[in-house]
Subunit: 508 residues, 3 copies
Amino acid sequence: MGAAQSFRELCDRTKNTNVRLSLPAVCIVWQTAMIILFGVFIRYNEESDTHWVEYRKENNLSDIQNDFYFRYPSFQDVHVMIFVGFGFLMTFLQRYSFGAVGFNFLIAAFGLQWALLMQGWFHSLDYTDGKIKIGVENLINADFCVAGCLIAYGAVLGKVSPVQLLVLTLFGITLFAVEEYIILDLIHAKDAGGSMVIHTFGGYYGLSISWMLYRPNLDQSNRLQSSVYHSDVFAMIGTLFLWMFWPSFNSAITDHGDGQHRAAINTYLALASTVLTTVAVSSLFQKHGKLDMVHIQNSTLAGGVAVGTAAEFMLMPYGSLIVGFCCGIISTLGYIFLTPFMEKYLKIQDTCGIHNLHAMPGVIGGIVGAITAAAATESVYGAEGLRNTFDFEGEFADRSTSKQGGHQAAGLCVAICFGVGGGILVGFILRLPIWGDPADDNCFNDEPYWEATPPQDKMSPKSGTINSLNFSLHFVSLKMFCFTSIEHIIIFLNLIFFFFFVKTEFII
Amino acid sequence: MGAAQSFRELCDRTKNTNVRLSLPAVCIVWQTAMIILFGVFIRYNEESDTHWVEYRKENNLSDIQNDFYFRYPSFQDVHVMIFVGFGFLMTFLQRYSFGAVGFNFLIAAFGLQWALLMQGWFHSLDYTDGKIKIGVENLINADFCVAGCLIAYGAVLGKVSPVQLLVLTLFGITLFAVEEYIILDLIHAKDAGGSMVIHTFGGYYGLSISWMLYRPNLDQSNRLQSSVYHSDVFAMIGTLFLWMFWPSFNSAITDHGDGQHRAAINTYLALASTVLTTVAVSSLFQKHGKLDMVHIQNSTLAGGVAVGTAAEFMLMPYGSLIVGFCCGIISTLGYIFLTPFMEKYLKIQDTCGIHNLHAMPGVIGGIVGAITAAAATESVYGAEGLRNTFDFEGEFADRSTSKQGGHQAAGLCVAICFGVGGGILVGFILRLPIWGDPADDNCFNDEPYWEATPPQDKMSPKSGTINSLNFSLHFVSLKMFCFTSIEHIIIFLNLIFFFFFVKTEFII
Amino acid sequence: MGAAQSFRELCDRTKNTNVRLSLPAVCIVWQTAMIILFGVFIRYNEESDTHWVEYRKENNLSDIQNDFYFRYPSFQDVHVMIFVGFGFLMTFLQRYSFGAVGFNFLIAAFGLQWALLMQGWFHSLDYTDGKIKIGVENLINADFCVAGCLIAYGAVLGKVSPVQLLVLTLFGITLFAVEEYIILDLIHAKDAGGSMVIHTFGGYYGLSISWMLYRPNLDQSNRLQSSVYHSDVFAMIGTLFLWMFWPSFNSAITDHGDGQHRAAINTYLALASTVLTTVAVSSLFQKHGKLDMVHIQNSTLAGGVAVGTAAEFMLMPYGSLIVGFCCGIISTLGYIFLTPFMEKYLKIQDTCGIHNLHAMPGVIGGIVGAITAAAATESVYGAEGLRNTFDFEGEFADRSTSKQGGHQAAGLCVAICFGVGGGILVGFILRLPIWGDPADDNCFNDEPYWEATPPQDKMSPKSGTINSLNFSLHFVSLKMFCFTSIEHIIIFLNLIFFFFFVKTEFII
């Protein structure tokens, strides 16, 4: 740990939170790269192309059998979860609501483009013309992929700069796509709601980064690491939209028909059960039995995470209730005992408690999925139902359910490894003193990155109306921007080189 | 009234709001009971089971004809209404936002599980194997059933403990299921949007409970029974989501095809009309013509309630507008004149004014439904359309529309009787001095049941981060929990015995 | 300008914001007119009528092929955009949240009824019986039509009375319907997401009105023309719901199947791209690279506007990204440079900056649409696809794509002309000193039109509970209402006469 220690000291120089050049440069350059890569690679698939009318007639389909009508309502619900759900869930801090909802917005908007590319190369590449063909299912998968990075954001909320978040997202999406390919395609594990692929990976990815970015003097920001009355109500908007739409999340990319139907029912029930045990444990462990908003905002969602993998299986309604029951208890106990323990002894500062909401329930979900798969029988599923549910087709046609259970467990291990390993790697990069992160006494504060609305809610004139900008100043800054953006392009090229190196290494 | 008076005095002992043992005990025990009952009774139906693939082929259906695709978008909208709509609508009080949105969350999560069982026994029981087979329509109905109890919560908002709310919900769901069975199955009345079944019942159930729980000295909490600027804006979130998704509410379980289509159109129009008359009356009866947020938040929704029963009928677009027109006026006048009158002379303290938003419009809706049904003719509906719309099949094949009108009116009476009778009964139980409700000078306050965020929005550290819990203390409390939970199980068993008694009594 | 100047002086008398008679009168009378007109004109179409069951069998359709299932999920998303999206986007002002969300609610609820009539006469009139037949597509179009007026509201936010807004809406809807008929039917331009029809028209309509209502002394209200911390978070609710559901907006009325699918994908991508360039420009032009909430709240949406017309075309995923890329930059620069310039030199006070969010991106969208249409080839679209996408059927069967491009451009010009011309006309009417608009030093303030919750968030008793109204006073006011409503009916009849005059003039 000596080397790590000295590296840490090297990095802990005086902080400069000015991102005036780095943030625009990264945004513009990366977005330009997206446009070029989309131009080269991405096209509409046969269901979103104007040739659908011919395709439809050839395959004797009706317009309503376009995949759009099977998945679009679920897609919109997932979209709400990503942007409003995750965004508002993190607004609970008294002075970090802009950062919570705004940076969530930024990294999700970048992440989904990069995810369309990365997942497309692995899953939707048409080898006849080398193009990725996208439809509504790709959009859902891109949103899923982004969710992994937003979970990781929860661990470092308030302690990083937007540039760091974009870097976190770039690598997170890349790692996610590789990990997903290994788990779903190579190992052929099933993971409808992403307990392993999304939540376990995202959770450990974020926790490892937070461990790498450990701030011993974070208590200097203690005055801001708390909620106020209305910020807790805002956070409940996030909680409720996540809670309500989780059935759509877990059923969005499952099989047409019974698959989507069953996944929605299972998730609905698991979540209902979680609420009651969360309230029970929260009340039991507080003075005078008072409830804690932190638990209500977060632990009530754990059941949705934990039922993700098995949502499509014949988990049975009571099985879903049991999963939710346990997760509500475990997640709330995690907030009460584990989070302070991890901060004190493991040096992991987990702002939103993602270990309790995503990492642990994700692991439970993986285990539940493995057990449910191993216990699946033809008498319960029916011969054809079993084949459909586990996709025992092609090279996997003669896989047994017990073997499938083992592969599910293997998938869980891959997710944890990618999360921890990837997080340490990316955390190492994010410790470099070039990213503009805030000082220890200025964390959980919107002030460094947002035009100030004064904390006492005094008046601050809107820039749009009484803007007194100095034009000449802007031309100077534009020149500086052009100059330094070249510098950043070089850094960017290095990064691209680096992650292709990483990617190649993992695939081979 | 002498006996009632002395009973009241007996109950009005010094209040102890500590629910540290009762709340966890009720949550854990009831949730465990749910798991057992679900294990015994609840299974997937043929559309959410893996055997769907065989069922589909036998019946020559396409995947898109799974009921999931007909109803899931509406289900999600209803789900949003239940959790965000009702929850945020009640956040208008300045210091009861946690309780409004949090307890709403709790009782809805419990209620929907119990509703799946209760409604399942009456409607979805498969007599071949004694199991309840559930699909997406059951989930919608469970949400509907919960809505009745959330309406009742509106009347007692801020004056009861979470344990009382859970008891209110347990009995409310039970009564609802019986009442619904009588109205829809025995009387064979139609009630697509639940004007009678949900709103009339829920409204009078809540008002009766509030009457039983009358607090003569509630003015001691006057300082808190008002809104602040931002709490009114939060409440508008609830209003708008209820308003926007009401067409989904009224059309969620109507007939496939034209039934859902027509119900959505009728509700959309009735609600639009209500907004204008609400604004008109609100402005007319205030000094200087200023609008009152209470009216805008609540009365604008009355049209959706009142068009519920007739939404599926050929009410005609102008008919919907007329219903909305009248309800906007009546509901707003109710807030201005009737609510203060009821509090002063009838001793009914109705925090959210559910009499104006649900009870009265619900009764109007029942009457409108009866008239519209009685006036239905084959020339307007078409022979097959008439049969479809009113389900004149099986034993009801030769019912005339005028007779149907009479049965609609009978259904309305049943709803009122169940509401008032059930409410008095449950109110009696809730007066027992064991439930931990707040004192008269501490109503409308989150402080007794929630970890404090100080009213001046000062900083309060989050329990998760600087938690200094004493472990040994917890083991003591756990022991106490085990001990007293036995006590509560006994109470619970008595309750179960009691409501089965009530149920049997009402059915026979 | 001498005459205009003297007219202005004439109008600038002492302001009286009492709308106690005018607002109720307008609401009641107009709503009554709606009921009468709906009774005469509006009926259900064959998909929402009880005869659907016969129609379905005749045409060999399944229930799921009812248009309801193609469009209802998108309709609900659009509905959320109109009421929550637009409403909350405008809550950013510190003391105008009630007005933002409440008046938005009022004018949308009126506007959609009037839009059903106006658009019905032009598009859905059944000439066999003279009735307008409505279904879910009409509801979506009515919401679209309302959007134009809500955009215009953004320009005059905080400076007008509710009565003025209702007048603005009445004329706005009327102009919209005429303009839409000319662009879509006569010119046969395509405009799926309404870049031209909705955003360009609505933007210039609002800006022209704002120019007519120029207030030289508006700086007297400067103290209120700014945000506070939580009002900015509320506004982000609006932003995010608009952003997330914009794919539904642009795809709601496109062709079944690939049309809806492709429009959703294009919009999703354009919006993602916009976020990154908005952040880049916002950071680049602020001191220390801090982000401005005004830009994040508004400019991030510009890509959705600009991709509206071309959303249904084969714009290609990278094309959508490019459109979003440019619009994010242009819109943010607009907020920084153009809005202050317009206020200072052009005398256009644009509260929400609709020129940057709607007008400019709308024009860009029209141009992109024209170019994309002109560049369309049979090799990309396929013969049938080209015919489907551009509706080259009937009298337009032999139109070439290059000609279509020209007609798209012509459509854009019509939208601008109607916006500017209509806005000046309506602005002239709104300057009359009879509408109860606020004084220059009382703008951006809820106080004149809403029962006060004091700015310091002190307690204010709810009118519903401790209402001390004087009944006799009310009877007096009712009498006055009846009397003056006659006066207003006369004004109303004049208005009707006037707009029929306008309508006739424009059609002929």
